[in-house]
Amino acid sequence: MSGQDSPDSRAEGGEDPSAGSRGQLSADDQASASGGSAALERRYRRLLAWYPARHRSIYGDEMLGVLMAAATARGSGRPGVAESLNLIGSGLRARIGTIGTGTDPAWRDALAVYSLVAPVLVTAAIYRAPWFLSFLLWGRGGSRGGIDPLTLFHFYTLPLPFQLAGYAKYLITIASPLTPVVLGLLGLRRTGLLTAAVLLSWTALQASLSWEIQASNTVAFLALLAVEVVALMASHGPQRGLRLLTWKGLLIAAPLLALAVTAGLEESGAFGVMHLSWSVVVLAIIAMAATLASAKARRLLLLFAIPVSPFVILLVHPYETSAAVK
């Protein structure tokens, strides 16, 4: 009985401070307050844009009311710095939460497929041009040391141990992007995630040390790895991706991957090879996405658009590539 009474009295009690100060403010200067409150509301709306749309549609209006009431109680015409940072932080956390906790299963599944496919594709695309990845993995020290995959095809003149070391290095170079996938398929998603993260930070460090590497490839590779890290973090990883893709997706992707690999055999110089391989890779992605449900497919394509975007920029703004390396 008293429980029935108390809610209303509590609610009114909670309302009091805002009502009181609102009255004070309007008594002070009605015109400027209403003009200021429109501007303040705009500012708060902009801050609320940090939240994901789902969260905004549920809480947006209500939060705006709370923020306005709090600002009025403070007698302030603009969002506070700490308050703004808090909104931005909470908004970003809500966005990450949306990916991570799987409130959107379509995103989670798209990320799972990505975590499986992306490293395979990049390996297919670069395996004939190991110098690119070799640069990112071993830096310039390798070429000075004389056993660098860059010089792979000139090994024959070297003593056998050096040849073997060179081939081993070549294999490690080519296999490195695949490691997170293999670990993921073995049920070691977290270890795979760690590997991908280490690979990402290491190659990013190398790239930052040496921009002689063609920038679009480097940016694409780093972006691809970065999304891979997110994908391994926020989804169930390659195992789930394999289950989602089914034999249909694999059947369609396999010949395209084979094409991407063999495309490297054509004598068109390393850069031509890379771009041809990448374009076949893009085809493979689209074909594979077509086998998925449309919501997942759209998201998968969006994810791949991140690493592919440097090449689109390159198409729009071509530049002389021959001078960069080799």
Partner: protein, 118 residues
């Protein structure tokens, strides 16, 4: 349970309140020590709602703006009660040990307090 969560549930234990009401109530419960920001409050409300500790009681439109009232659910009340018990038990032990500590230090420093109080 983190303190803001505890205080939000405590605020709602008094009855349904809207967002701004919770903010001011939490400030008064904690004697002004904890001031929730809107972002933190709604992150907590969203989480508490999805785990079933609180629920929407009713919605009102005030000055053309949506105002939602939240209430404590029975599972939420159980969680709050367990947390209150835990804090109480901790506090009791702390108080008991402090009393013992005071009892031990008084005889040890006997002459000084005796002189001081006399």
């Amino acid at each position: 349970m983190q303190e803001p969560t505890f205080l939000i549930l405590t605020a709602l234990a008094a009855g349904p309140q809207h967002g701004y009401g919770i903010m001011t109530d939490v400030a008064s419960i904690s004697a002004g020590r904890v001031r929730l920001r809107a972002g933190t409050l709604y992150t907590a409300l969203d989480r508490l709602k999805s785990d079933g500790s609180i629920d929407v009681d009713r919605e009102e439109i005030v000055d053309g703006r949506l105002r939602r009232y939240y209430r404590l659910t029975p599972p939420g009340a159980a969680i709050l009660s367990a947390e209150a018990d835990r804090l109480q038990a901790n506090a009791r032990i702390a108080a008991g040990r402090l009393k013992k500590l005071a009892g031990r230090t008084v005889p040890a420093g006997g002459p000084v307090p005796a002189g001081g109080t006399a």
